[in-house]
């Protein structure tokens, strides 16, 4: 068990190093970052000044180590556009993304799990059919378009909710619903298929043979095993929601990390983009590592193995 956790943490660490190198390298994708910052029409001496000011004249490996070293102490560099520390800007914006991601995740989970169970109990029954339609449409409708249509219908035609911004909690209603609709199908499907597999096992039959009522069989015997694959998927989905809310933040004019990254890209504020990519990647690594460890704790077979 401890060996498993240690191994998992080593892999996570290696992924973090690689991911940080990739986020760092993105800066150089356009060729010379100094020119990118100075702008295509910028003067040569401006680019040169930027090159020296930002230390772009140093060897790449030195720049990378310097960047990572600072990042470890919480210093993510200076925003070129705002000329204030990147960590400060991100600190102001991160809570919107977190709220949006976590709320959508919880809503998706609350819908997906009961629906998946109900669908699995009677495959091809009417609940199963509704769940299938929801899943298939949820996976086919682009979330930004659904967001826009929701604004037209509920914001403009009916006026039930504010059409943009998150000054009040009502501003979160539509984005959360739209995002959770995007995240729900995968979780519902894995709950359903996990549950169908588990319900067909001998231990469920054995539990029924003991005379236990179906309710106890489902919740004590089946669900406990059916959620194991859901744990890993849920971590992935939460990670995707946090990093994928960029389009939804843009549609609903929510000032989160995604929108910040997009705006920063449009104004070539590369240190901000770099930092956001790094943070979102590390969050994802942390979530999936946590899920793996949680799985090991939940499953006695893994718990027993060393």
């Amino acid at each position: 068990m401890l060996a498993f956790i240690a191994k998992r943490l080593v892999v996570a660490f290696c992924v973090c190093v690689t991911v940080s190198a990739i986020s760092f390298a993105l800066m150089f994708l356009s060729g010379d970052p100094a020119i990118a910052i100075a702008g295509a029409g910028g003067r040569a001496q401006d680019a040169e000044a930027i090159r020296i000011a930002y230390g772009f004249d140093r060897p790449l490996i030195v720049q990378y180590l310097d960047w990572v070293g600072s990042a470890l102490t919480g210093d993510l560099g200076q925003s070129i556009y705002f000329n204030i520390p990147v960590s400060e800007i991100i600190g102001n914006r991160i809570s919107v993304t977190m709220w949006l991601g976590v709320l959508s995740f919880l809503l998706a989970l609350v819908v997906a799990v009961p629906l998946g169970i109900a669908a699995a109990l009677r495959p091809n029954g009417w609940i199963d059919r509704i769940a299938l339609v929801l899943a298939v449409t949820g996976q086919a409708i682009p979330s930004f378009w659904l967001g826009l249509m929701a604004i037209v219908v509920f914001g403009v035609w009916y006026g039930w909710v504010p059409i943009s911004g998150a000054k009040t909690w009502q501003g979160f209603i539509l984005p959360v619903i739209v995002l959770s609709y995007y995240a729900m199908p995968a979780m519902m499907r894995i709950t359903r298929s996990g549950m169908i597999d588990v319900l067909a096992t001998d231990y469920v039959r054995a539990a029924r043979a003991k005379g236990l009522p179906m309710r106890v069989v489902i919740f004590r015997h089946a669900l406990r095993n059916a959620v194991l694959p859901l744990v890993s998927l849920a971590a992935v989905q939460l990670g995707l929601l946090l990093s994928g809310s960029i389009v939804i933040e843009s549609v609903f004019a929510l000032n989160g990390l995604g929108r910040l990254a997009w705006e920063s890209l449009l104004r070539s504020d590369l240190p901000v983009v770099q930092a956001i990519i790094l943070i979102l990647s590390l969050l994802y690594v942390a979530l999936t590592t946590f899920a793996d460890i949680l799985n090991a704790v939940l499953d006695p077979r893994l718990r027993g193995a060393n």
Binding site: T201, D202, A206, A207, A209, G211, L212, R224, D299, R301
Partner: protein, 329 residues
């Protein structure tokens, strides 16, 4: 006459499939008697496992189950066997499954799985239920049972898991025990131990044991009575000695061509092959299902009903061509 603990007449199980109704069990009569070990033998797909599942009420919803008589524990369950059976399961009738590894929930402790049934059905508290579990584990030969209650199934070997399954089945002190291929998934040496254990428990507890198997060695070592099933019907039933020494139905004779002798035939011997294939069970079937593979088969065999020749000792055979007494090798 010994006490009859379960009496089922004309049990039919059909399953809806893409190609039509599959009539898997086509009118089975079955009695479980006190102190009896009845072995239900037949090839894969002959409906023996479905019969067991139907007796337990464990078939999925898409299975259609009917019977003319379904009498268990003095209750007539003919009308609603499935829902009524839920209350009898564990307490009046219990079941042991083929593969103990998949029949134990990997995420619950052995103690929890043993006690959950009786805590609900008999209202025992945790201490009393644990005491019963320790008693049963001891009885099936698990050493140091108190300590093992808190362990998970993966900590046990295959043979130990099957012992735990047997202990679990005995928890509610049932009088009827149904074992569906209980040794098939085990090593040959372990099979012998488990069979001996089942035999001992059957006699000390006075159980009625219905054992489903395709292994004639198992039958030879444990059965008091044998029912031979073919294509959804019991074609011959007899006390084990009689059946082995004077099989009557052509199918039984085919099965016994290797002549397993009680105590001599090694366990694990597969059924010898009989030429031809088991008929498809979709749709209605007329006459004797075995006629196409039968050396004695003739046009007469396609008519209904197939005559049943029985005696007072409970022995019977369903065949146009043989009658008890006249059959020889």
């Amino acid at each position: 006459m010994t006490e009859t603990l379960l009496d089922v007449r004309n049990l039919r199980v059909s399953l809806k499939t893409d190609r039509g109704m599959l009539n898997a069990v086509r009118g089975v009569d079955l009695q479980m008697k006190r102190g009896q070990t009845l072995c239900l033998v037949g090839e894969s797909g002959c409906g023996k496992s479905l019969t067991a599942m139907a007796l337990m009420g464990l078939l999925p919803r898409y299975a259609n189950i009917t019977s003319d008589c379904f009498d268990m524990a003095g209750e007539d369950l003919t009308q609603k066997p499935q829902s009524k059976l839920a209350k009898l399961r564990g307490r009046d009738v219990a079941m042991i499954f083929q593969d103990p590894t998949s029949a134990l929930n990997p995420t619950l402790t052995v103690g929890r799985q043993l006690t959950e049934g009786v805590m609900r059905s008999e209202g025992l508290d945790r201490a009393a239920a644990n005491a019963r579990a320790v008693e049963m584990l001891d009885r099936v030969g698990i050493s140091n049972p108190e300590a093992r209650l808190t362990q998970y199934p993966h900590a046990f070997s295959g043979g130990q898991r099957q012992r735990i399954m047997i202990a679990s089945a005995l928890m509610g002190r049932p009088r009827r025990l149904i074992a569906d291929e209980p040794t098939t998934a085990l090593d040959v040496t372990i099979q012998a131990q488990i069979l001996r254990l089942l035999g001992e428990l059957q006699s000390t507890l006075g159980l009625s044991l219905l054992l489903i198997t395709h292994d004639l060695g198992v039958v030879a070592s444990i059965a008091t009575d044998v029912a031979v099933m073919y294509a959804g019907r019991i074609v011959e039933q007899a006390p084990a000695e009689d059946l082995f020494h004077a099989p009557q139905h052509p199918y039984t004779r085919g099965l016994l061509r290797a002549i397993p002798v009680p105590g001599v035939t090694p366990r694990g011997s597969e059924l010898p092959a009989i030429a031809g294939r088991v008929p498809g069970l979709i749709g209605e079937m007329r006459g004797c299902a075995f006629r196409d593979r039968c050396a004695l088969g003739s046009s007469e065999c396609a008519s209904d009903p197939v005559p049943r020749h029985g005696d007072d000792a409970g022995r019977f055979v369903e065949c146009f061509k043989v009658t008890p007494g006249e059959a020889t090798q």
